[in-house]
């Protein structure tokens, strides 16, 4: 009958894949989500009754859809959990596609403060606090997808300083979950892992932190647990320089990047035995403000002064020692640069130790072999900081480009 046909076709038009892949304005409507909305609205009403309503950081969102995945150029959030998952033996290319459809939908909703479909704790989704969820593919994932892997998508070469533990190395699928709120990170991690469980098993998880939101000015270079200002020479997101260092332009990875994850144990007890001058010489920067030793230990701006590697002391020695970290890490070759986005970790001590701390080193670069490996080679050969740091985990992933509303992460190899 005519009316039925009309209804049929209209329904088909209005209810398509978009509903699954973040159904526009209607997404998140449901009685369960409405409970969350009551909380959100309640807190908002409370605010308006105050004379000076505090701006709640929990409502801040980072767009999910775009040419690049979020969580790379995004100013690093306070907390991050990195998951490395192994694809189950029976999962084929279509299985990977189904998994990425679901995980993309979860991420698209949760990052915007909406509960995931079938979210058992929807109330935990209402405060995204700049949540981002970023996916990267390991060599085996790309193999199952029957796509051509970039030459650098493999474990890094063995370095002499490495003491790698398989429990913190490699993996088929990387998921970086980061937000300015640890409860948001935990809920998102739980939701993502529940939906990934029938396709993958957990290989490792690592969590890290920076300063909490609002503790220091946004954009302040992080400090690691040695007290060092860590990441001063990073390219700046939004600049041509950053784009050139980070974004890949080849084939299915165009708009994506390469990720290196290294767990670097830091021996705090040994570091404590070094005096302040020695600590500063090991890196070539002042502890006070991160400025190079040829600049001033006073004032925030000095952090970004260019180091003068030719400067010598009265005794004729270089002010910034040749064995220091910033000398060894720096290359005269313009392409040997990376973008660091690290987190600190501070885990339960083992045996008789009182600390189990270090750096969850994460770097993004368009080509791992051309950009990261030469730097690490030099640091491996000579870097005074090696006296106190030991890489104990290592993994490399290809981070695919972002997607638009209606698409999914990984569609450039699974579609």
């Amino acid at each position: 009958m005519a009316t039925a046909r009309n209804g049929h076709s209209r329904g088909t038009l209005r209810t398509n894949r978009r509903h699954f892949l973040l159904g526009g304005a209607l997404a998140g409507i449901g009685a369960t989500t409405a409970i969350g909305a009551e909380y959100a609205l309640g807190s908002r009403q409370q605010q308006t009754s105050d004379s000076a309503p505090p701006a709640l950081n929990g409502g801040n969102t980072v767009p999910f859809f775009g040419h690049h995945q979020a969580g790379i150029a995004t100013d690093a959030q306070a907390y991050a959990t990195l998951l490395a998952l192994d694809v189950r033996d029976e999962v084929d290319r279509d299985g990977l596609r189904r998994m990425m459809l679901i995980l993309t939908d979860d991420a698209a909703r949760l990052t915007q403060g909406q509960s995931a479909l079938a979210d058992a704790e929807p109330e935990l989704a209402v405060a995204p606090a700049r949540l981002t969820v970023t996916f990267g593919f390991g060599p085996h994932f790309v193999e199952i997808a029957q796509a051509e892997a970039p030459g650098w998508l493999r474990p890094l070469p063995s370095f002499g300083v490495d003491r790698l533990d398989p429990a913190f190395s490699d993996g088929d699928l990387l998921i970086q979950i980061a937000a300015d709120d640890p409860l948001t990170v935990a809920h998102t991690t739980r939701m993502i892992l529940k939906d990934a469980r029938s396709f993958t098993s957990v290989r490792w998880t690592q969590s890290g932190f920076r300063r909490a939101h609002g503790t220091v000015k946004p954009g302040t270079t992080m400090r690691n647990l040695f007290g060092q200002v860590d990441g001063t020479s990073n390219p700046v997101p939004g600049t041509h320089d950053f784009d050139r260092v980070v974004w890949n332009t080849d084939g299915w990875l165009a708009g994506g990047t390469g990720a290196v994850v290294r767990r670097i144990s830091m021996n705090l007890d040994k570091w404590d035995r070094l005096d302040r001058g020695g600590k500063e010489q090991s890196v070539g920067r002042y502890l006070s403000n991160g400025a190079p030793l040829t600049s001033s230990p006073v004032g925030d701006a000095a952090e970004f002064d260019e180091p003068d590697f030719a400067a010598t002391s009265r005794a004729g020695f270089p002010v910034i020692p040749e064995f220091s970290h910033i000398v060894r890490a720096r290359s005269e070759r313009e392409e040997e640069r990376i973008f660091r986005r690290a987190y600190n970790y501070d885990d339960r001590p083992v045996d008789d130790a009182i600390s189990n701390s270090g750096l969850l080193f994460v770097s993004f670069q368009a080509d791992v072999d051309a950009q990261f490996v030469p730097i690490q080679d030099r640091l491996d050969q000579l870097d005074l900081l090696n006296e106190w740091t030991t890489p104990v985990g290592s993994a490399v992933f290809a981070v695919p480009p972002g997607c638009s509303d209606g698409g999914y992460i990984g569609e450039t190899i699974l579609g």
Partner: protein
Amino acid sequence: MTISHTRIARFGALVAASVSLLTACSADTDTPEANHGPAAESVTISDAWVKAADEGMSAAFGELHNSGESDVTVVSATTAAADMIELHETVENETGAMIMREIEGGFVIPASGALALEPGADHIMLMGLTGALAAGQEISFTLTFSDDSVYEFTAPVKDYAGANETYEDHSDHAAETEAE
């Protein structure tokens, strides 16, 4: 998407949910009159999903919206994924336990309102699955309304540990759905 936008959307949902409750409590559950157009033209579903299952039974959930000026009634549903579908409601039985059973007269979606299909509440019950429902698959459904108009939608399959409801003790299905 800004937060204020999200909150407005949520506020809308909250109002819709309240309207739904109020309308559901009223006695007026008449089917729409023909002069308001076919029911299917005013109905949409959002956030639809189906619980993954290897075999046997499963259920579909989501939020049905009615933009029309009259209540509409879903009288049946079909899918190629199951031999039989029932529209279920949750009620308290004589011992005080909450049980699921087929709803008499179908799902009523109130005018300018919504009906939530959720675990532990109203849902679309799938019996005799024709194959495994694997996470990430998309399943097509057709709803038929009391005026014979139909509405078709697809819903993704998701792993879900809940929705293990107790059903009325009929001989044609077990006391509980399979968890996986």
